[in-house]
């Protein structure tokens, strides 16, 4: 059982959720209210990580912050090590790759809030921010939770991108998914089976708890 890899995966998934979800709330809401003609294009760009093979994503990410890229070089000069093959690089990649998993459900959640309620909120003296906090979020929160859970679960399972951008460095970028792959390659099936079971249990628990919670509070609302 590779505890270090498990810890790393949980940390990566948690940080991704914590950073990405607030961003997704603001952008999801913006998109839900947008009347721009370019909206379909923006939505398509957001959905890209869903359809691109992980290797393509990994390739582009590596070009974006590998050693020879502007971003990579700035990072190197500030922190003394590369952005790729580091936990921070992995976190950045994870945030980018999970954008559709977070933004899409949240956007749908905000779209489901009747526009009249926002108007009523404005007429009742609430600024857009207040309206988001007091009216829209309390109504759209199951969607936010869905986005968070999907992001968490997806990050735990992410393999292709992690391998390309992370390099499977123990303690730094060797997530549990990679560790399982490694164990299989080392003919250590029992260890691989053990870790797979843990991952499965964590995923099922997270998702079930979330759905239970959302039903409970959903009932309270209606």
């Amino acid at each position: 059982m590779d505890w270090q890899a498990l810890r790393l995966s949980l940390l990566l998934a948690s940080l991704t959720v914590v950073i990405l979800v607030p961003i997704a709330i603001f952008s999801g809401r913006r998109l839900a209210l947008s009347k721009r003609k370019s909206l379909p294009i923006i939505e398509a760009m957001i959905a890209l990580p869903l359809v691109l093979p992980p290797t393509v994503l990994g390739f582009y990410l590596l070009s974006a912050f590998g050693r020879s890229s502007p971003l990579g070089q700035i990072w190197q000069s500030v922190f003394g090590h590369t952005l790729a093959f580091s936990f921070e690089g992995l976190l950045l990649a994870s945030i980018i790759v999970n954008i559709p998993f977070a933004v899409q459900p949240i956007q749908r959640g905000f779209e489901a809030v009747p526009q009249e309620l926002r108007e009523a909120a404005a007429c009742s003296g609430m600024s857009p921010l207040m309206s988001l906090w007091k009216i829209e979020l309390p109504l759209a929160w199951p969607a936010v939770l869905t986005g968070a859970v999907l992001t968490f679960a997806h990050t735990l399972g992410e393999f292709g991108v992690v391998l390309m951008v992370g390099g499977a460095i123990p303690g730094e970028t060797k997530t549990i998914a990679i560790s399982i792959y490694d164990k299989v390659q080392s003919f250590n099936s029992s260890s691989a089976a053990q870790m797979s079971a843990v991952l499965l249990a964590v995923s099922i628990t997270t998702i079930t708890l979330t759905f239970l919670m959302s039903r409970k509070i959903g009932r309270r609302l209606s």
Binding site: A120, A121, C123, G125, P128, L139, S222
Partner: protein, 354 residues
């Protein structure tokens, strides 16, 4: 506290109008669907931004101000109550006060609309009429400079509507600000409002007192001939024993189905033109109880078989719509004396009020 509105736009809906509403006055904005009534309200609230918009409320210009900075109270057609907040919560959230003062004020408004005993219910647990009252209380919680009512009673059944009308009338003392009521129901407009403005295709066709508008031919064209009618003022004389009330009018005696008003009260009656018959002699042996003397002021033939006859009945205008054939047969001309005949039962209760 006067509200002054001037709007101009081309897209997506054509608008070109201006009007004023005084403090404590209720203006009914009537017109066919698509005429732009809701758009006018939304423009005043700041939810819609026409190309040119000058809205001044209580001396302050609202142009450029976002909705939440305008002290506007709006009651939506579908109430738009916040589903996750209780009745009390819906009202409280619009209040500026905090802490103890907030609860006290919220409860006061709740009492005002008669919902004290459902304070902790969620909107989904309330009836249509109750939800409407919460919406009104919430709008008032804002201490608005302008109160806007967007067809607030259209989703409610008739009996509930009656109750709500009475509530609004009772609330009038609380409503010291200008109020605009958008409706497509002429009777409702007449019942609740002080003045009326008729809107068609984004333009004001006419505005004025109810009686003035009721007679205006331009309004007639917009609202349709079926809605055309006149308003007569009469005084309650007696409550008869057979379920009728006797009214006195300079042009004659009127009987209407019983209305609960005190003797001596002045009431207004809305008489639809197509309910009014004309006779060149006072008719007898006829079931209709209401016969009024009048003098023909003008006769306007329509495109079809009808003609609109304007009469002077005891100093007030009365409209009668009859066939052109009858006009000829009765020999009616300007200045002719004639009698207007109305069935008591044709004067529905909701067309008689103070």
């Amino acid at each position: 506290m006067t509200l002054s509105v001037r709007l101009k736009a081309d897209l997506p809906i054509a608008l070109d109008l201006s009007f004023e509403v005084k403090a404590g006055e209720m203006l009914a904005l009537v017109g066919p669907s698509g005429s732009g009534k809701s758009t006018v309200l939304r423009s005043i609230a700041g939810l819609f931004h026409p190309a040119q918009s000058e809205v001044t409320a209580n001396g302050a210009s609202w142009s450029g101000l976002p909705t939440h900075q305008r002290r506007v109270g709006m009651v939506f057609q579908s109430y738009a109550l916040f589903p996750h907040l209780t009745t009390l919560g819906n009202i409280s959230i619009a209040l500026k006060e905090t802490g103890e003062a907030r609860t006290i004020e919220a409860r006061r408004l709740l009492k005002l609309v008669g919902l004290s005993d459902v304070a902790n219910r969620l909107p989904a647990e309330l009836s249509g009429g109750q939800q409407q009252r919460v919406a009104i209380a919430r709008a008032l919680a804002r201490k608005p400079d302008v109160l806007l009512l967007d067809e607030p009673f259209s989703a409610v059944d008739r009996p509930t509507r009656e109750i709500l009308y009475k509530e609004i009338e009772a609330l009038r003392s609380e409503l010291s600000m200008p109020v605009i009521l958008v409706t497509h129901d002429m009777d409702e407009a007449q019942r609740l409002a002080d003045r009326m403005a008729v809107i068609d295709k984004g333009r004001l066709v006419c505005q004025g007192s109810l009686a003035e508008v009721a007679l205006d031919p331009r309004a007639m064209r917009v609202l349709g001939l079926r809605e055309t009618g006149a308003v007569l003022t009469a005084r309650v004389k007696a409550q008869e024993t057979d379920g009728l009330t006797r009214l006195e009018h300079p042009a004659g005696v009127l009987f209407v189905p019983q209305i609960r008003e005190e003797i001596g009260t002045e009431v207004k009656l809305r008489l639809l033109a197509h309910d009014v018959m004309l006779a060149s002699q006072r008719p007898s042996e006829i079931s209709a109880l209401n016969v009024i003397e009048g003098t023909v002021l003008s006769i306007t033939p329509g495109d079809g078989p009808g003609a609109m006859v304007r009469l002077d009945a005891g100093g007030e205008i009365l409209l009668a719509r009859i066939t052109r054939r009858s006009v000829a047969a009765l020999g009616l001309n300007e200045g002719s004396k004639c009698f207007a005949v109305l069935k008591s039962l044709a004067i529905a209760r909701d067309r008689v009020h103070r």
